[in-house]
Amino acid sequence: MNPTEYFAASRLLIVAGKGGVGKTVVTAALARAASLVGRSALVIEVEGKSGLPRMFGRTDPEERGLGYDEQVLRRGGADGSADVVARTITPDQALIEYLEDHGLSRITKRLVSTGALDVVATAAPGIRDILVLGKVKQLQRTGAADVLVLDTPAAGHAISFLRSAKGLLDAVKVGPINTQARDVLDLLEDHERCQVLLVTLPEETPVNELVETAFSLEDQVGVGLGPAVVNGLYEEYDGLDADPAVAAAEAGASLRPGEAVALAEAASFRRHRIALQHEQLDRLGERLPLPQVRLPFLFEAEIGPEEVDVLAHAVLAGVERLDAGVELGVGT
């Protein structure tokens, strides 16, 4: 599938996955991939604390965090790339804005300062999530960018986060929150405008969790699932099963003392990991009929602009392999 179409057809990409799978890195890579094909990207982060600016090389203390206002992470250039911008949406901020928009600004301060929001949020669970999603929906509707990439909360709440709209429709039968929930649900269920991308690692437990999450999301929320993103794959090198001494002799090179052992052990480790990752990729493919976008493991442990570009190109290559004619989804 042509990436230019992909990043236009799905205006909101929701990135979800358990902690430790590299969700934020994948979010950065998706946004950058969109910008590389000329689509402006807005990254939305919901926890008020993010390593995103750093990944785009913003190391000034003032630029390191994300705020409620949009911040440019990477300007587009003469090469036809578009801007990547980012912002945070937290429930408290979204609530204040929501109340102000609904002519209720006089109770806003009190609701927040007395902590009554906690009471309300407990009375109607999911209300924090719906406020955030409602704001996302508004940004999507007003065309804040060509593509919106939403990094979901880390603590494994993707399902409850995305289920909040349905849950609230049951709990709150009338009023503006009900309307809000209905609007959000419309967006989530619109497979043209919205896709959920689940991120995993090529390891047993993360793969199991991804499969479970995929089926729960489709059953309980009715969202459209995009390709499964498998992060952290070791790149495969030819020649790793060669004996170091023999291989050195063949190339006319000489090994330093102890080097043969180190080379052989390192090669054996990588071969073993690669065999395991094949096993997991196959298992994922069997259990979940979704196309896969595969991203390389980066040995450079700190993710900076160069690394984001490497991953963004891997995203583009993955998107190009997607079959445009096939509706993405577990059920199809």
Binding site: G20, A116, A123, A124, N208, A247, A262
Partner: protein, 356 residues
Amino acid sequence: MTLDSLVRDRRIIVCGGSGGVGKTTTAAVLAMRAAEGGRRAVVVTIDPAKRLADALGLGDLTNEASRVEGPWPGELWAMMLDTKSTFDDLVAKHAADDDQLQRILGNRFYKNISGALSGTQEYMAMEKLYELAEETDFELIVVDTPPTRNALDFLDAPARLSRFLDHRLYKLLTASNRGVLRAVNMATQTFIRTVARVVGADVIDDAVAFFQAFDGMEEGFKRRADRVAQRLRDSDTAFVLVASPRRDTIAEAEFFAEKLIEGGIDVDALVVNRMHPRFAEGLAEATRERADSLGGTDIGSLYRNLADFQLVASREEENLAGLAERVAPAPLVRVPFLRSDVHDLDGLRQIEAELF
């Protein structure tokens, strides 16, 4: 101090850290180690960790401790935290009579508390820990915490919940039914009506009914929460920070450690899982140059591969240095990337061999 001395001497070990770093498995191994040392140990996990249950040879983990059979002189028990039933037990403990208990358990707002109120899971983990410490004769209780970014979320959770239950809104809601304060509460009534307009009146009614049913219990809850918080700071409670060597999880662990220290809690050990092995000393750059000069040959590939691992190993050590310094003199224990996932006791023993 070593991990072994913690497992041998302490009563409680709390494992904390961000998600996906191997907290649950680490907690299980610590408890198993204690059993091997002859103690009666229980591990309390938060995740519905099916894989851990399998590894321990248990069909399922429940809110009741199950005994794990194994060739050790002590005892190993495992259980999973069930937030809802722990909360139910806590309410039952404090309720004046069965009528009050039933009114609370049946309230919709109450049912939401266990699922929706932030911090409840953290509080219940700490509550369960306290209950096990006070009411059972387990010699070691190991608990893994919910994957919270902020250590204060669970350190504060008991206090936060008791503040919530003792909420001013609650006071206003109940007071507004008492004649004397009716006039004072005109403003509150308006406020509540406005909130009700936004979220719906029945939602507010549920909340009011809950706070009315809860009337009289908040003191007991608060005292209990204070004791739980105190227990976490006792000298026989140890805190083990679990991390992985990736830049972002290290940053979270540093933040976590800082908050713990601010909260008056020492980190007693740092466990870093998933470390890449270091196959050779020396600089990755030199190996990479050699690989490039031999490009296109098998030996070139072998060098390139070695350079990758030298690079990642040195980056990981750099990432760790600051964190290790921050928690010093707590020991830093490195656990290498395992060749496969943990499926059984042998898998746990492999980790044990790395930890101790």
